[in-house]
Structure formats: C-alpha cells, structure tokens
Symmetry: D2
Subunit: 135 residues, 4 copies
C-alpha cells in the first residue's frame, strides 16, 4: 500500500462523544474522519464548502473501521489520512488513529464518490481536485 | 399557563445518547423535543417534511431547559408537548419529560418562528398550520 | 449465509440526523444499528442494560457499511438484524436497511465481543445470552 | 454584568453538525459550549478529566440559548465564555458566539453544579477550582 502523501489531523475527544463505558462511541469516528478529510483538503488549498457551493458533493459509498483500542475522553488524537491509489469516480480515503501516547486506536477506510448536487449523478474527479492533489 | 392540547410522545434513550456519567447528555434533549414536535404535527395531520418541501422552515429562536433529574440509558421517556398561547410569527413549544417511573426529569420551552426557506424571512403562521391546530 | 432468526426494527429518521445534502449522515447509522440490536435482545427477553449492570459489556471490534441509497429525513426505516454463525467470544451482527418504499438503503456488519466491564477482558458468550438466543 | 475573565475558544463547524437547512443544528451548541468550558479550565491549569477522575462531576442544572443568526458549515466560531458572579454550589457559565465575520450568532447561559460522582450529592465549589480561578 502506497501511503502517498499523509496528512495528520489532531482532534480532542469531547465529553459528549464518549459513552457510558468511557469510550469514544463508535458512531463518532466518522465525525473525526470527516474533519480530517476537510482539513486535508484545506491544506491542499481547496475547501469542501467551496466545492459544495460549486455544485459538487461527495457521498460515502462504504466505510469500514477496525478497532484496536478505545479512544477516551480528552484524548488528543492524531489521525493520519491518505488517499489510496488514483481516484477517478471513486476516491478511497485511508485512516489511522493514534492517541497522545502513540498507541494505535484504529484503522479505517472510506470510499466516496464525486457527484453533482443537482442530480446526484457520479462524475469523474473534478480537475480542480486532481490538480491540487497532484494526481 | 394554559396547557392547551397536550400531546405525549414516547422515546427510548439510546446508549450513544448517554455520557460517561451514565446520563442523557444535555445536548440530546433537543433531539427528543424535535422528535416530539414532529410527531405532534403528524398527529394533527401535517408533516414537517411536507411543510419544508413546500418552502417553509421553522428555525429555533431560543431554547431553555431546566433539569430536575437525569435521564438514563434505556429509559422510556414520556414527553409532553403543548403550544403556549396563540402563535403568530413565533410559536412557543413547552415540554415536560417524565421517565417510566413517572418522575419529572425536566421542563423546557422552545421558541420557533415560521420562515420562507428561500430567503429566511419570518412569516405569519401558515394557514395550513393554524387550521390543523385549530388556532 | 444463514440469516438465522431475523429481527426487524423500525426507526424514524430525525431531522438532526440528516446533513446539508438532506441525507442521513453516515455517522448516524451506527446509532440505528445499536438501537436495532438492543431491541433484538429485548425481544429475546434480555436487556443490554441489565447485562451491563451485571458487569458485562459489548465493545465493537469492527464495523462496515455499504451504502446503496441515501436515507432521508422522516424516512421510516426497517432494519433487519441477524447474527451470523455461532458466536463464541465474538459475535457478528448483520444488518439490512430498507426505507418505507422497500428500497434497500444499505447493508452492514458489526463484530462485537463480550467483555467484563471491570477489566475489559474478553470472555466467552455468557450462558444467559446463548440460552436466550438458542445457540 | 461583570464579564470577569473572558476566555475565547475557537471551534470549526463540522459538516455533520449542520442540518438540512445548512445551519448548525441547535442541539450541537451544547457540544461547543462544553468544549469551550473544558478549554477554559485547561487554560487555568486544571482538566475536567482529572477532576472527574478525582470523583467530582458537574451536571447541568439549566441551559438557555438565544439565537440571533445561524451558524453554518465550516464557520470558524469564536466562543467567549466567562463565569458570572461567585460560584458556590452552582456555577453560571455565560457564552457569546461570533462567526469569522464578527457577527454575533447567539448568547447562552448554563448553570452547573459540583457533585460527588459516588452519590451525586451537590457540594460546594472545590478549593482546587476556586483557587485556580481566583474566586
């Protein structure tokens, strides 16, 4: 697996994001990963907001998470994100999450596709994206 | 206070909605109240979905919650909802939440207004609403 | 795949669970699946709450969701849930979600394990569970 | 109103935190305010996590939010937080939220109390807190 260009996003676990066990509830990882993806784009010089305002959206096709250890309240997480392969219609984002002690908490993948907001039709990766990312 | 026509909505507390203390996190009450309001409308023969599809929205102007006791995981809550006074541009929803033991957990009020989705301009209560609710 | 005993849980999509695209945000499916699992257990005569109060928890080992169509606000979802194979230390829950028009929205799997709350050590499936489920 | 020592916390609005109207859903403000409170404490040299690990919790007694303008996706919010008056058993946190254009989005207050985790009994403000905050 070519990890390509890895971007690392840092996020602090909120109180409300933990459940009775004291763990980050598994539903919330999708929020962290989405935030990491947004910041990866911003670091490339594009914002998801502008892209959406221009009529493009990125629905999720599939997501998969493997949990090694639990995240906990107030953890300062480092989320590594990279794109696997060359995206065309679909784009596969890969994630690895570490806590402040360098322990691997989980790995994940999320397959998304580019689509027109107007009719939800999938389209090839927009040139603005491929240029900024250097595909 | 005229409790007018009280509608009671039942909702089961989800695991993810409770925090490390084992209590319903205070952010989640807004979700239950919104669900209660939706079902109150449905019982009147209107759906919020149809209203929104027709170009009307109901943003929140203010919300206030007083907590007496905590809600807990798997609680089967009874939420009483009623409209206070005669709504014109604003509509005040009142709430009382009880658990399965009949204990009062909280009281709340939420002031909302009717607005056009196109320009977010406040409007008087739509006739479809006032008719169905009998104002 | 032996679908074994399929339990169907119905859930109404909340307004707050939908994103700007008008779709159920992908993070929220984990909430619906968790609710379905809880109700499946209740139908068998056990509650997750009692199990947890007795010192047992069920952390998630992995989760995977494949999206076919988006869920939307006010959709009345039917979630089919069943257990694949014979659970021992791990238990694999399978899910299929349909909307009110019978359209398949997604399929999912979630691998969980039984553990003692006190030390988070995995344990074999508790006899109370295997008896109630008839494994 | 004595604004006392105002702490400003910055938070970026997540995609999942916005609803179909494109606004921050009103339930999510409690998450931002909680994060602001946590960071205000950290700036004082205490963490809520340590406090809780030491057996103290801070349940919410009441919350109230007045909305002036909607928050939107990708907004970079500045949340001002300060404590009103001298806390004893209860502590009143005040909030003002501005967006990146300096527009006031909302004001809020949240009354919390200090309690022992073991029996949920309210207690006077812990000396560690009053010392660090300089009450």
């Amino acid at each position: 697996m070519d990890k390509g260009s890895v971007y690392t996003h840092t996020v602090r676990v909120r109180y409300a994001e933990c459940d009775k066990m004291g763990f980050v509830h598994h539903s919330n990882w999708a929020l962290y990963f989405e935030e990491a993806r947004t910041e990866q784009m911003r670091a490339k010089g594009i914002t998801y907001k502008d892209m959406e305002d221009d009529g493009l959206i990125m629905p999720v096709k599939s997501m998969s998470i493997d949990f090694k250890r639990a995240g906990r309240y107030d953890d300062l997480l480092s989320i590594e994100i990279w794109i696997e392969g060359i995206p065309e219609i679909r784009c596969t984002f890969m994630y690895k999450t570490y806590n402040q002690n360098g322990e691997l908490l989980n790995t994940a993948s999320m397959v998304m596709f580019y689509a027109r907001k107007s009719d939800l039709r999938p389209i090839k990766i927009p040139s603005i994206i491929s240029e900024k990312y250097g595909f």
